[in-house]
């Protein structure tokens, strides 16, 4: 059995060095345009989410969302088998991939078998995980994004900076310039004009694409149904017009019952963009039947593990797999809003990325991710499926220094941040705090010799002044008061 279920290794030249978080964060913080673009977008999304849940018993609804996801995870292997059986009965071909590389090869093989040269894509974060576009291009298959945001990002040769709004880091002027340079449209700040042009460019592509590739929001085991949530209609085009549809999905997206999607959908669209529902909720349960006039002849599903079964082993980290990819944690994160999505250098940015990506890239490469948080707790408060993100960040911080004896470390690259000096300091700290006499001696010595305290303490004093010990210890002051 293979133990390596981690991120893709092909075409690693496209990888951004995840470790270089700090230089990117500094650059982003000093870029007023990036900060303005994110601030404006996140403020808007937070307001819309709040008003979309007005009149709802949100706590109870979030409990239901969490329970639905936990119930699904509790019988994940059985549900995946049931899903496979139902999909197969419905005429959909099911494939399994342990990692991104294998998933890419499966997609390529389907394309090759059909002699496909062009693929049109609906939005899929799993395909970003797989770096599918680059891979297909290397194999001589054109892969074109059709979601407007993804299309913009692809034209700019960038990666999405937000999982729901991929091009949110750009403003209208920047997008207008990009479309002008790449597709020859006129420079314009008229969003309708820019959108209409993208529609024109992509219509021909939909018509002529050999395969359509999409993601999946929910996969329903009892009926063998793939659910896709979208506004533009590009998802419907992608899954309906080309003769072959390939859906790629993480193995955690399965739910037992059709009923489950009603609650998850209500949570997803409101949490993500503050919509009651998206324009299209597309439920696909099979390829075109013999008497039908349209729809793909072939439908394939690729079930991708890519580190998920590793996360699944641990009782705490498991909660990460509840995620329904709404992006609310990003929208409410003070760090994400200031540094933007690209700073993280990972497929999934923001709070969910900080707890998901260390499993995919390892804690050595992703060592800065769990620390890029003020632990303010906003992400956990808005999560529609109540993932305790702050707790998991603390857990990963512990693992990154191997400090948690209660949980044998599970994440690849654990201990990468461990420093023997820091460990010794904390050991001394805890030893001193356990002995009252020693503690009093220590604090009174500290107060007496406070002038000798260093003015710079590493990263802490980069943006702050160093904390100073008081001239008298608390014990001394209490004693004085008592007299």
């Amino acid at each position: 059995m293979s133990e390596t279920t981690h991120g893709s290794s092909h075409h690693s030249a496209h990888h951004i060095d995840v470790k270089e978080f700090h230089p990117r964060a500094r650059a982003a913080i000093h870029n007023p345009q990036v900060r303005q673009n994110f601030r404006k977008a996140m403020d808007g999304l937070m307001t819309k989410r709040k008003s979309a849940f007005e009149g709802w018993d949100l706590e109870t609804l979030r409990d239901l969302g969490a329970n639905i996801r936990m119930r699904a995870l509790a019988s994940l292997p059985d549900l995946l088998e049931q899903l496979e059986q139902k999909l197969t009965e419905n005429g959909i071909t099911v494939h399994w991939a342990t990692d991104g590389d294998e998933a890419c090869r499966i997609v390529r093989d389907i394309c090759v078998a059909r002699d496909a040269k062009t693929a049109i894509k609906g939005k899929s974060m799993v395909s970003e995980e797989m770096e599918l576009n680059h891979y297909l291009e290397e194999q001589g298959i054109e892969a074109l994004e059709s979601d407007l945001g993804e299309y913009i990002v692809q034209l700019a040769e960038e990666t999405p900076s937000h999982i729901i709004m991929p091009a949110i880091h750009k403003n209208t002027g920047e997008i207008s310039q990009l479309l002008h340079d790449k597709t020859g449209t006129d420079l314009s700040n008229d969003v309708e004009y820019l959108t209409a042009n993208a529609r024109l460019q992509l219509r021909e592509k939909f018509r002529n694409a050999d395969v359509g590739i999409s993601g999946v929001n929910f996969a329903v085991a009892e009926t063998g149904t793939l659910c896709l949530v979208e506004n533009e209609g590009n998802g419907r085009m992608t899954t309906t017009v080309p003769p072959c549809h390939i859906a790629v999905t993480g193995i955690e997206k399965v739910v037992p019952n059709l009923e489950d999607v009603t609650a998850l959908l209500a949570l997803l669209t409101r949490s993500a963009t503050g919509q009651h529902i998206t324009t299209y909720f597309n439920m696909i349960s099979g390829p075109r039947k013999a008497n039908e006039m349209d729809g793909p002849e072939e439908v394939h599903v690729v079930l991708v593990d890519n580190g998920r079964s590793t996360i699944y082993q641990d009782d705490e980290l498991l909660d990460t797999l509840r995620c329904i990819r709404c992006g609310a944690c990003m929208n409410h994160c003070p760090v994400y809003t200031r540094v933007g999505g690209h700073t993280y250098g990972t497929t999934y940015p923001g709070p969910i990325g900080k707890i998901l990506m260390p499993h995919m890239v390892g804690l050595d490469e992703g060592r800065h991710l769990p620390t890029a948080s003020s632990l303010c707790g906003a992400c956990g408060e808005v999560c529609p499926v109540k993932i305790p993100i702050p707790d998991l960040l603390v857990r990963l911080r512990q693992e990154s220094v191997d400090g948690d004896k209660l949980h044998p470390a599970k994440v690849r690259g654990h201990g990468a941040k461990r420093s023997s000096v820091e460990a010794m300091i904390w050991k001394g700290w805890s030893w001193m705090h356990a002995k009252p006499g020693l503690y009093r001696l220590g604090t009174s010595l500290g107060a007496r010799f406070r002038k000798l305290q260093p003015g710079k303490i590493g990263a802490w004093t980069q943006y702050r002044t160093a904390p100073k010990l008081a001239p008298k210890t608390l014990h001394e002051r209490m004693k004085e008061r008592g007299q």
């Binding site: 294998e102 091009a167 820019l194 419907r236 209500a266 349960s285 006039m293 593990d305």
Partner: protein, 219 residues
């Protein structure tokens, strides 16, 4: 070992042991028992907030209303189903009236006329399997007679909704119609015309799907 078996085995042999499944109580989705009129008001308000257009009409008046709507848009062609009563009614109506656009029947596989569908059809009309008041959604189950692309490719999508088939919530609709018993190859909730906010959060309608969604509600 195949990837399938490797993944399933890893999940089955979970080091943390077996997981317990929590109870799921869906009552938070329950709504008061609204009347048809209340449901229709709610539906209209919600779908209009996302640029859907609602026209209340009757069994005998909908073709007149449809003709007006299409004329006001200058539509030259209308895609209809072959067997469905909507298509039948329109075909017999054109025998003695001239204010309807040219009717095109979707009775051939898409391969033989894809270019025409994309470039020459101004509007498509479909039935619905009901609607959802809370979210302002139409339920569409495309069939061999009313294929999937009818409601997607033409710039104008017209849907006929019977007011009596409005449900309060998605949960309510799904349970009442017992969807779990069997799903069609494709089922849809459609809530407004196609839209995007991918450019600086500015809403623009008519991206890849219809630019207009017009609902004729039969009261």
């Amino acid at each position: 070992m195949s990837s399938r078996d490797a993944i399933l085995q890893r999940l089955r042999n979970r080091t943390g042991g077996e997981l317990t499944a929590p109870e799921c109580d869906f009552s938070v989705l329950d709504r008061p028992d609204w009347s048809t009129a209340e449901r229709l008001d709610m539906f209209e308000r919600t779908i209009e907030s996302v640029h859907g257009e609602v026209h209340r009409t009757t069994e005998s008046g909908w073709i007149d209303r449809l003709a007006e709507i299409l004329q006001s848009r200058g539509a030259q062609t209308l895609l209809i189903a072959k067997e469905h009563e909507i298509g039948q009614a329109l075909r017999s109506a054109t025998k003695d009236r001239e204010d309807l656009p040219q009717l095109l029947v979707y009775d051939e596989p898409i391969e033989s006329w894809q270019e025409a569908l994309f470039n020459e059809v101004d509007a498509g009309i479909t039935s619905t399997r009901g609607g959802i008041a809370e979210t302002g959604s139409l339920i569409l189950w495309p069939t061999a007679d009313e294929p999937r692309l009818m409601s997607l490719v033409p710039p104008i999508h017209i849907a006929i909704l019977k007011a009596s088939e409005l449900y309060t919530t998605f949960h309510d609709a799904m349970q009442s119609q017992n969807w779990a018993a069997g799903m069609p190859t494709n089922a849809l909730l459609v809530s407004g015309p196609s839209k995007t906010a991918d450019i600086e959060q500015t809403l623009a309608y008519g991206v890849h799907g219809p630019k207009e969604l017009i609902v004729l509600v039969i009261e």
